[in-house]
Symmetry: C2
Subunit: 160 residues, 2 copies
DNA sequence: GCAACTGTAACTATATTGGTTACAGACGAT
DNA sequence: ATCGTCTGTAACCAATATAGTTACAGTTGC
C-alpha cells in the first residue's frame, strides 16, 4: 500500500514530549531518538505546530513541547495533522464515462472509502498521547533500571 | 499518505465481471472501462486469480470471470489480494534502542496499528461485490436509458 | 495453421517520501 | 552588541512504489 511512516514518527515525537514533561526538546535530540535527520523532524514539527499540537521556540535554549496536556491530544489529531489524504485512493485516471460501471463506480467507491475512513478515525479518536505513554510505561520499567548504566546515551531525560 | 489505487481498480474489475454475469471479459475490454493499459489489468488479474477470486482462460475466446458468486466475494478478500501491507507503516529505520521511548514505541504502535487494521477489515468484510453492484444499480438507471444511444461505445454488455 | 487471447519480462515515467546540506533569522547569555 | 545555539525553510538527491508501454512466448478455438 506504500503508506508513509509519518504517522508513526509523529506519534513517536509527541510521546517523547509527553515523556519529557514540558521540558522543551531540541530537534536534534528528537531526531536521535527517532533515528533520522533533524530537518525531517523540524519539518514535521512545523506541521504539528500548524495544527496547534506543539509549540516551538527559536534561538538558544529553544525547542518544542506539547501545546496541550497529553490527555487532550488524540491520535486522530496527529493523523489529521500529518497524513493528507484518506486511507485509499480512487483511480489515477477517471474511468470510462461510456461504461455503465465505469461512470458510477466512483460514487460507490467513495461511499465505501468514507466508511473505512470513519472506522479508522473512530479508533484513533479514542487513544490519547497519555494513553500511549501509559502503555509504554510497563515496557520501560526494565529500561529505566538500565538507564543509569547507559548514562549519556539516553536520549530523553530531565534537562536533557 | 500515498495509497495506491490498486484496491479501487480491483473492485472496479470484479464489479465489471459481476455485471457481465459469467460472460468472460477480455483484459482489453476491462482496461477500456478502467481507462488504463491492458497489461496493468492482466497483472492485477493474475493476483486476483492467485487469491482464487477470478479464473482466466488463455487463447481465442478466452477472458476472465469471477471464480465465485458475487455475494461470496467481500471487499476484504479483494483488499487482501491486492494490497500487501497494512494501512500504516512503522519507522523506516528502527528508533534508537538507547532511548526509553524509542526502544518501546514500536510495541505500542503495533498495538494501535493492529486496532486500525482490524477496524478497516471489519468494514470491508461486510461488503460484497453483489452489494457494490446493488449500490450501482440506482445510479445506472439513467445511464442504461442512454446506453442505446451510445451504441458501441458501451464497454460492458452481453457478449460484448 | 491462423487469429485471438493470456501471462510475463523488461523498460520507462512519475510521484512521494525521506535524507542531506546550507543558510537566514530568532533569541538567550555574557 | 555580538556570539553561540536554536528553529524554519529552501534546494537538491536518493530510494521506493506504482503505473504505463512494448514486446513476445505460450494457449486455445476455429
Amino acid at each position: 500500500m506504500s503508506t508513509s511512516s509519518r504517522f508513526a514518527v509523529a506519534v513517536h515525537v509527541l510521546t517523547l514530549m509527553a515523556w519529557a514533561d514540558d521540558e522543551p526538546l531540541k530537534s536534534e535530540h528528537v531526531a536521535e531518538s527517532v533515528n533520522t535527520n533533524a530537518v525531517v523532524i523540524r519539518r514535521m514539527l512545523c506541521e504539528l505546530a500548524e495544527s496547534k499540537l506543539v509549540v516551538s521556540q527559536s534561538g538558544a535554549m529553544g525547542g518544542s513541547k506539547l501545546a496541550r496536556e497529553p490527555e487532550q491530544i488524540t491520535l486522530l489529531d496527529i493523523y489529521q495533522a500529518v497524513e493528507s489524504r484518506g486511507v485509499f485512493s480512487l483511480h489515477r485516471h477517471p474511468p470510462n464515462r461510456h461504461c455503465p460501471v465505469g461512470v458510477n463506480i466512483g460514487t460507490v467507491l467513495n461511499q465505501v472509502l468514507d466508511e473505512v475512513d470513519t472506522a479508522v478515525e473512530s479508533v484513533l479518536a479514542n487513544i490519547t498521547i497519555k494513553d500511549v505513554v501509559s502503555r509504554l510505561q510497563p515496557c520501560v520499567s526494565t529500561a529505566v533500571s538500565k538507564r543509569k548504566q547507559v548514562g549519556k546515551e539516553q536520549v530523553v531525560a530531565a534537562g536533557n
